[in-house]
Symmetry: C2
Subunit: 234 residues, 2 copies
DNA sequence: TCATGACCAAATAACCTTATCTGGTCAAAT
DNA sequence: ATTTGACCAGATAAGGTTATTTGGTCATGA
């Protein structure tokens, strides 16, 4: 057992790490506060010094994972030379989110993981919020003449949102031996999207990159503000 | 109560109709043989003269509904002037299948409807079979120079299969007020597919139509043979 | 010959009791 | 000032009993 840093931040991180691992493996209901405490190397009472109840640990984890995912998304877009296209943007938004098991379980409304938290969380509207973001962003690209203006933005983004849903869930339907390399799938999908949305004359690709940059700056800013005012405690 | 035709075919049809309605509404487990008999206007024992057990009624219904869906699919393709394109073909394959509530419940593995039959049916491989059909058909189109030969058929058909999955399930995720007209969604999707698969030189569209026609003839033939040797009884 | 109603054993639903576990609390220890 | 271990009431799990329902059978009726 290496040196244990018992600063507040480290205890909280250790508790959230333990909670994350246990919730993913055994589900929320089957993971006891004693399990979490024991895996985090603290007493159960120590957890209650920071979070009022078990549910608050779950919610703190949700916030933390969301911030991590957003960070990942920003990094991916900024690192991709083709990050300025709509198809690539969609790809990164999806891959970043669904590389996180906790957020994936949330999007999937996975009762095995979420258990009794499902009812307590109520209607999460995750896909609706996602749809609104996709829509808002696509419309900004249309305004910038970077993509076709004649496409119905709502219909297209609904389609892409449901495709995302399908890709995420299909992993549970088709056995791995019959599943192609997902990065290949994404390449085809990005190509398909780009062939659809790109205007005949090619559109204003530079303006598109500006829109993407501005959008991601806004996302970054919101994340920073959120992290400033949020703590991961109850 | 109108004239009751008590020929064998009519009794069976009435029983299957009643079973279908009850299974969809109350689920397999909550629909009793007495309910089915009563709704069909026969005695429970009459059902057992034709099917050995409850499960066999379910299986007979499955066969009947599959035949209806296949018939519907053939009709749609043949009635569509654009039925010769891959995108349109995909559309009709999907819309025909998922306009049938019983088959939809099966594809969705809807425990509310299927109940204890889920375990008894075991691994249905429905999406795998569908994938194989999509793949086989796309490869035939590639061979006929009707679509791009450089596309990875497996990756593309996996993508379209998962999209189908997403579209079917998304109805349960996004509220109806925020769901666009699905025929609009299909139009965009067909356009997206066609823009992706059509070769730069337009390909051999006439050869494509021949492939479609031949394929649907085979489907029709198989359906006829199946209906000849199948009965809807245990 | 075909449809039916009465019947039956097993399955299911409803209810109850007891033992154990779990989220949360608080005084004591460091 | 911070962490901990003992404690507790309510929740959950496990086990049992009783009443009702259900899938299926078979002799009878038309």
């Amino acid at each position: 057992m290496p040196q244990i840093d018992n600063s507040t931040d480290d205890i909280e991180a250790r508790v959230l790490d333990a909670a994350s691992e246990l919730f993913i493996r055994y589900g929320y209901d089957k993971s006891t506060m004693n399990d979490i405490a024991s895996n985090a190397g603290v007493a159960k009472s120590t957890i209650y010094l920071r979070w009022k109840k078990k549910e608050d640990v779950f919610r703190a984890l949700l916030i933390r994972e969301s911030c991590l995912v957003t960070e990942e998304w920003i990094d991916r877009v900024e690192a991709d030379p083709k990050g300025g296209t709509y198809g690539a943007w969609i790809r990164h938004a999806t891959v970043a989110t669904f590389s996180n098991p906790f957020l994936t379980a949330l999007y999937k409304q996975d009762r095995r993981v979420l258990g009794s938290m499902i009812e307590r969380l109520g209607q999460t509207d995750l896909y609706q919020q996602r749809q609104a973001m996709f829509l808002h962003f696509f419309e900004a690209l249309q305004d910038a003449n970077a993509v076709r203006k004649d496409l119905d933005a709502h219909v297209l983004t609904y389609l892409l949102n449901s495709l995302q849903f399908g890709l995420i869930h299909f992993a549970d339907v088709i056995p791995p031996q019959q599943t192609p390399d997902l990065s290949r799938v994404w390449e085809v999908l990005v190509e398909m999207v780009e062939r659809l949305v790109t205007p005949e004359d090619g559109g204003d690709a530079e303006a598109g990159k500006v829109v993407v940059r501005q959008f991601m700056q806004q996302v970054r800013q919101r994340l920073d503000e959120f992290e400033k005012q949020s703590s991961f405690t109850g």
